[in-house]
Symmetry: C2
Subunit: 341 residues, 2 copies
DNA sequence: GTGAAAGCGCTAACAT
DNA sequence: ATGTTAGCGCTTTCAC
């Protein structure tokens, strides 16, 4: 590949100039005559000259690279962030290096190392729930922006989410509609995120003095398969719920599949709150009420932090910590409970 | 950021060795004694040493970078490809540099330049429909893998799609169900892709000696907004269609929104074929019949080509050209035409 | 088994 | 307005 692109020297040789002159001309340095500049540019163009970012980086001490570490780019949420960041990078002439952990801490460690090899000028990471200590050690030296999951030992700006709030919001909405038997399908309670949601549920229920029906809670992997099985299962419980809250995007997908398969009338037979802001929630007949994150704000926040690179070294620990809240997006899949059924 | 990481020299100084020795030790060179190796590794670990990929690249002549240029990572189709590629890169210790054109040829040109600066060992590009000549010139020298859109002047492996086939498939399916008044909403005919689909439609109709009702064709930008308006509009035509084929994912999204808003019974009042393989097509009540691409195969194909880097320089023009076909995924949104209505 | 020296392509300091 | 020199961090001869 790229069988040896021409270098500055090649251009210089062609015009009987020195390579520094060429370098300056291409950088539009004011000391080079316009005439020389245009001649140099002409040759550069003709030879297909492309700068060597490695060499440049070596000289300048830092790369023009932005590192981005995400669990899964297939997820529309992370895709949106990557998209925004890619646009920002394009504007600033930076490279976006993307690494996907797939939620695996071991892979994560390797990826962080490799990312660091490029000497990124900024690093945005959305770590797995349990990063390896070596990973943390690496990141401690690096001033990175943490997204979603926040590790206490890693300094730097942070963009996270008020975890339990979403679940509380969903519950309060359903409780206000009169529902009392509410099913909950969410990620396993071992993960910080699952635990937080369960807390949110409890908070909302306690405020109304409603007891959580344990048999209506299903927690497991955040997959469509689990969502499907869990919802199918909930529908079979002795006293079926009048409403269900599905607390991740993929679980919601599986869950809705189960409801479709069961030909459950929504919201006539069952009220449903899903998670995320997949575009199809809006296309679904009547619309799907959902708990969403203000993605725009989130992407903007990350973007702003990346641009705010001027780090004040004096300030000891005054890093911005942005905390976003979930929002309830009420659509047609939730309705007051009906005494019937 | 990354306030000067330690270098090989730092490690060498600490142990009173020479930097080449350290370099060799870390590369696990057989000539270095095991004892020295472990001492070096210990210090490297303690100092938080991370190799400098720029310097390495400079020496070796090429980077360990894979460049990926896509129009939009938000699109699940491209997201899947990026995901697969990212995984491959992780395994091989390569960096995945991602650039998003957003369909803009000017931005595309800048991005390609910047990508090339990293001296990627492979480049995978999904170009805009009308790349600038300079972009093509740059790419001609670079041996890149082209995805979807194929420019005739750029050599190298190619993964594309049999464009008109999807539209034909959709039409044949609907015709077989007895539909004769079939609406079509697709991307504007100026784009190669829009034109191809229109061709596919014509082929299918001619084979059945059915005339295309011009008033049932709506072509425009591939956006949800256009899809929404176009479908809403189709429903208002004097003799409304009994079936509609929406030929891109985003158009389908908007279109389905319009059908939901209009409370159209599917497939009782109207049969619908959508495009793509969004997971929600399966969750939709009854399922949405769709024209899909074998994404797995596609991602695998790209992945394989990237790994097949060993370029046979002797062979003049024997690059693999993989052409994938659309598939009909029949679900519940299409049914035999009813004489009623 | 280890050290010394050179050089990859580029830029910045210091001459002219 | 242009040339000279040096050096970024690394790997690769070649020497010992």
């Amino acid at each position: 590949m790229a069988r040896s692109r021409p270098t500055l020297k090649d251009i210089a040789a062609e015009l009987k100039l020195s390579h520094p002159t060429v370098s300056r001309a291409l950088a539009d340095d004011h000391r080079i005559s316009d005439e020389t500049k245009s001649r140099i540019r002409e040759v550069a163009q003709r030879l297909g000259y492309v700068a060597n970012s490695g060499a440049r980086m070596l000289k300048r001490g830092h790369g023009n690279v932005v590192g981005l570490l995400l669990p899964d780019i297939t997820n529309e949420f992370y895709a949106a962030i990557a998209q925004k960041l890619a646009m920002d990078c394009a504007i600033r002439g930076h490279q976006l290096v993307l690494s996907i952990t797939g939620g695996d801490p071991d892979r994560e460690h390797v990826l962080v190392r490799t990312l660091l090899e490029a000497r990124p000028s900024s690093l945005i990471v959305s770590l797995t729930g349990a990063p390896r200590p070596e990973t943390v050690a690496l990141l401690r030296e690096t001033q990175c922006i943490q997204l979603m999951y926040v590790h206490p030992e890693i300094p730097g700006p942070v963009v996270s989410v008020e975890d339990s709030g979403g679940a509380r919001l969903a519950m309060e909405h359903l409780l206000a509609l009169g529902h009392r038997r509410i099913g909950f399908v969410g990620p396993s309670p071992e993960s910080e995120i699952g635990a937080a949601r369960l807390r949110g549920i409890h908070q909302a229920l306690q405020a109304r003095k409603v007891k959580l029906a344990d048999e209506l809670v299903r927690m497991g992997p955040s997959t469509a398969e689990f969502g499907f099985e869990a919802v199918k299962d909930l529908l079979r419980t002795a006293k079926a719920p009048t409403a269900i809250y599905m607390s991740t995007g993929t679980i919601s997908l599986g869950g809705m599949k189960a409801l479709s398969a069961g030909k459950i009338g929504i919201p006539t037979e069952l009220s449903v709150v899903v998670a995320g802001n997949s575009p199809w929630y809006d296309a679904w007949p009547g619309g799907l009420t959902s708990i969403t994150l203000p993605m725009e704000d989130l992407a903007d926040a990350v973007s702003t932090l990346v641009l705010q690179r001027p780090a004040r070294k004096s300030a000891v620990k005054a890093f911005p910590a942005i905390k976003l809240s979930f929002q309830l997006c009420a659509r047609g899949s939730t309705a007051p409970v009906r005494s019937s059924r």
